[in-house]
Symmetry: C2
């Protein structure tokens, strides 16, 4: 084997994912290496593959050195000045399959598996992954490809297994501020006796994810073993999916889709269903809110997605219930982790301050799901929709759902469960109506943006409280919403964006 001995330069930088190594151009020449070639780097018995970049200046990487990013240093336990050897590696076969997809060929099961495997092993560069996403976007993925992609993403990480005939899960194609139905729906379903191992994401572009909100009340970063224990004991959980190695390929794909807002349908579908598959769900509720400023804009698009979800579900052995809901405005009053946590506790504890729209939607979603799985229980299999609506309402209003939530909060590591003891951020600003009339629209995106600038979700006590919403009559000077922020600077930024954006229409 032909190799080079080099001294490590710690580049003091992390790519987030891809394993990158940088050589001086003169060293690269010694093995005739080029940008994007693969090299194997070994230190003692440790070894890894990395994608090569080449430096033209000695400042970046001196001759005789190899610049390594954090991810690579970790893999081979190297430090600045460690001695390593490098070897040329073959380019991965997956690059050939990516090229085929870009040319319009349908990919086979093994080919998709090979791409996802290299992706998860951080053996594809951003540019290479972009070519794959381009191919999926331009030529689409047919049913078989989407099914195989979904399965590959599921198998790219751990898969939770339960000894149950029915395991429930829920997903919302987001875009609606507030709308924190998940913890309420899960509590009702648990109260009805079902197993619900719910893992959620933290927010990426919204003011709060379900994981951010639950984190106000309890610990959410449980590992697979802890999830197993909690769910086995009390029938469900509400944790953060990122703490477990579930469907890791998904995040890398989302990152590359972002710059051009690439919305390949095949990738969207497989991304959602892979997360559900990885927690072992058998029956999944998918909420698609439609509205001008929601992610899905039209009923036609929502219906199309519904059909696709059902087809794929059918192929991967997962029953899917898609509900199309109103996504024209924020739901609930609080926007931001603590503010949303208060809303959901009010609903679960039947507090008079509970936002009725959030309560109503949660009951509806839960009842539809109970109806969907009715046939598995001989006692309920012939009951009507109305029966389950009443049942969901009863489970909520009797305190049974709250009792389940309380158990979840305690089992995961209780922080707080009294909404009146949740602190809100120190500084606030009231946005007041400039004229009297009726609110005819609230822009979801504007509200989310302002809540984020005010500090949500990282500052969990920051965000927005909506006093008024679409449809409400208002008088000039009435407070429409209040912005909460942890310091004056953030409040100032939020106010400045508020002036720029103008997202509330009054007529």
């Amino acid at each position: 084997m032909i190799f080079l001995k080099l001294k490590v330069k710690d580049m003091d930088i992390s790519t987030g994912k891809t394993l990158v190594a940088i050589l001086h151009k003169v060293d690269a020449k010694k093995l005739d290496l080029h940008v994007s070639d693969r090299i194997r780097i070994t230190k003692g018995l440790k070894s890894t593959i990395a994608v090569l970049d080449i430096a033209n200046s000695k400042k970046t990487v001196p001759l005789g050195s190899i610049g390594l990013f954090e991810e690579v240093l970790k893999r081979i336990k190297a430090k600045d000045s460690s001695n390593v050897k490098i070897f040329l590696e073959e380019k991965p076969k997956s690059l050939y399959f990516i090229r085929q997809k870009l040319k319009g060929r349908k990919l086979k099961k093994e080919e998709i598996e090979s791409i996802i495997k290299d992706l998860v092993n951080n053996n594809l560069s951003q540019v290479e992954l972009t070519y794959f996403i381009s191919g999926c976007f331009v030529h689409g993925l047919d049913l078989n490809e989407t099914v195989n992609l979904t399965k590959s993403i599921i198998n790219s990480g751990d898969v939770l297994k339960w000894n149950k005939k029915i395991v429930l899960d829920k997903h919302c194609i987001g875009g609606i501020p507030g709308n924190r139905t998940t913890p309420i729906v899960v509590s009702i379903l648990m109260a009805a006796g079902y197993t619900v191992p719910k893992t959620s994401s933290r927010s990426i572009t919204s003011p709060a994810g379900t994981a951010d909100t639950m984190e106000v009340l309890t610990k959410v970063d449980l590992n697979a073993k802890q999830i197993k224990k909690v769910v086995t004991r009390i029938g469900g959980c509400m944790t953060w999916g990122g703490g477990v190695n579930l469907a890791p390929a998904d995040d890398a794909i989302i990152k590359v889709e972002r710059p051009l807002s690439i919305d390949s349908e095949g990738n969207l579908l497989s991304s959602i269903l892979a997360k559900k598959g990885s927690v072992g769900a058998t029956h999944v509720l998918i909420d698609i809110p439609i509205g001008k400023t929601a992610k899905v804009k039209t009923r036609e698009h929502a219906l199309h997605l519904k059909r696709e979800f059902e087809k794929i579900g059918n192929k991967i052995g997962m029953k899917i219930l898609v509900l199309i809901t109103n996504g024209s405005k924020p739901i609930g009053q609080g926007i931001g982790p603590s503010l949303e946590a208060i809303d959901l506790l009010y609903v679960l504890k039947n507090d008079s301050r509970a936002p009725l729209d959030l309560k109503k939607k949660s009951i509806e979603l839960a009842s539809e799901m109970l109806y969907f799985v009715r046939a598995y229980n001989s006692k309920t299999k012939n009951k009507s929709k109305k029966y389950f609506l009443d049942q969901a309402k009863k489970l909520l209003e009797s305190g049974a759902a709250w009792n389940k939530m309380r158990k979840v909060i305690i089992a995961q590591g209780k922080k707080i469960d009294n909404p009146d003891k949740i602190n809100l951020a120190k500084f606030h600003f009231d946005y007041k109506a400039k004229k009297s009339g009726k609110i005819i629209s609230v822009d979801n995106k504007t509200i989310s943006k302002i809540a984020r600038i005010a500090g949500a979700p990282e500052d969990n006590a920051a965000g927005i409280f909506m006093y008024k919403n679409t449809g409400n009559k208002i008088k000039k000077g009435d407070t429409i919403f209040r912005i909460y922020a942890e310091n004056k600077t953030k409040l100032k930024y939020a106010k400045e964006f508020l002036i720029m954006l103008d997202g509330i229409k009054i007529k």
Copy 2:
């Protein structure tokens, strides 16, 4: 305007092109910034746009700091610990056009211009450029798009202008080791009285480019003003194109095409013709060698490219002569800058050691070009092909072409013009025939690879000297070629690759 004040961290790394800045995730949140967002960075009166990346670890970029790559530091004259301000910038419109191309829409002139302008201003990330190249690859570029892309690339940099009716240029779609016809053809054309402002590339994947070879004899890194002066005085030049800001968009595109060997025809055509347009050429000779291990494999493909070149040439006002030649084996005996320089001096000086295949091909190419432009001269416009073949031969064998080359060498900054005084690398290894017979094939790629591993083109005296080539009869023990290298390690690497590759077939 909303901004943040930050302290610069010099990341000590260069991207080569894209302007990149890294923020800690908590700072990014303050302006709700995401990966691939654009920010404007200002220091005093200096200002630039950069593409944002976000660090999760304090190790990469601490809170309150902004990590800047070399390219950005230079633009705003910042150093480690400089204070800068950042503002959110709108995403460039070109991203919208790239998305449209990916969706299959034909792009208009202004849209292509906008993409190339942002590319040249380093305002597109690698991922974004990859989406554009994917769109071009999948949907192709029609004639108008290719023409507009070519024009945009030409206008992305400087354009040389000459006060002449005819300005000649030449290009070879490479892949053939040796084959250094350009300096000989240019010398003959100059001797015939034509203006030939020849700029060439340095090698990227081959053992030598024309610029590398000419650099053995004379200075090649002339700027636009110096090129102008030399060409005006003696009728031509042979310089390195990279020393001038000609068609800079081209390099960035090539870099992103490499990982998947994306060979979008529209990009290939526009890349070649843009370089010719930027030096002000009116008549261009394009040599397409065909062969199993050449870039173009079949006659059909070569003929198709010929038609495309002619169509585009027609639209951008450039006359193009495409010649399809034999690309089945190396041409000439030397491979590597110095070895090829010796070959071409032998040919120009009518030395008995001149490789006849190189001489013959050069005369043919030059004579075809003289025939192609015959109509512009009343004295020659009715002459036959045979006449120009005789003329090209005469211009070469009379020493007229050598006289022009000598002038070029002197005008650009003479180093050497005596082939017997050109040194070859200190160490060598003779590759000998293991059996007697006839050489039935020589693999162009293997020969190139070994010459590169031996040190070419950076070690200009390294490379390969071919004693025998396809068609020659040999006896067991005859030297087929000699590898030259500057040190024993490189020679050792070259020998090891030699054993691995086995590129010469004897029968």
